[in-house]
Amino acid sequence: MRKITKPVQTRRDQLQAQRTSILWTFPVVGLALLFIPWATLNDLNGDTPRAIDYLRLSLPVIYAWLVVLVVLGWDKQSWVNRRFLDDELTQVFRARALKAAFIVLMIGTTISLPLMLWRPVVGVMATIVALTAAGAAAGFRFAWLDRQASEADAADE
């Protein structure tokens, strides 16, 4: 039998807890930032957007991407600590989280398509909301599954 090193498990638990807290926080921030593109679209009022406007419009979407990258394990922390953060349970959580995100994305973009044809500005906003919501769904689902597993874990300790 291999020698058991407790600090390895502690490190694994710490890193996984850290990831879960990121996956609760980032989606909340992304959703909270949705007022920025809304205000930007209202300010533009049909004018040609400047570079800063593009950035303001994409801010929640950037947060959604950050969440998806963490869920996929493509962030720096996950690359560096792959052996702690990429076990089999994580892969199951990842698949379920991405499934939830995909459903939200399909519903969101399906709704935003007719909106885009009706009023392009509303359609752009709906697309931003759909992308942000899909990223948030991935994060929340992953964090929720992890929390459920942790609760069972704590009850069994």
Partner: protein
């Protein structure tokens, strides 16, 4: 394939081996949460993980897991 579910005596085998969940997790190279969810039937392990758990407990996969008809 008939309707069946996976039954496990992982917890009994782990306790018999005098290991905590954390210790078994470390031996198998997974998180404690993984061991716990397998023990509780929340998560069905892959063949690789089942083999790793069996090796860590010096037993066979068939001794740890079997199918129950439902």
């Amino acid at each position: 394939m008939s309707s069946s579910r996976l039954a496990s005596r992982l917890k009994e085998a782990r306790i018999k081996a005098g290991l905590t969940q954390a210790e078994l997790a470390e031996l198998a190279g997974v998180s404690r949460k993984t061991v716990n969810t397998v023990e509780n039937g929340v998560f069905i392990p892959s063949t690789v993980l089942a083999l790793c758990l069996a090796r860590a407990l010096n037993t066979t996969v068939e001794d740890l897991f079997w199918l129950v008809e439902i």
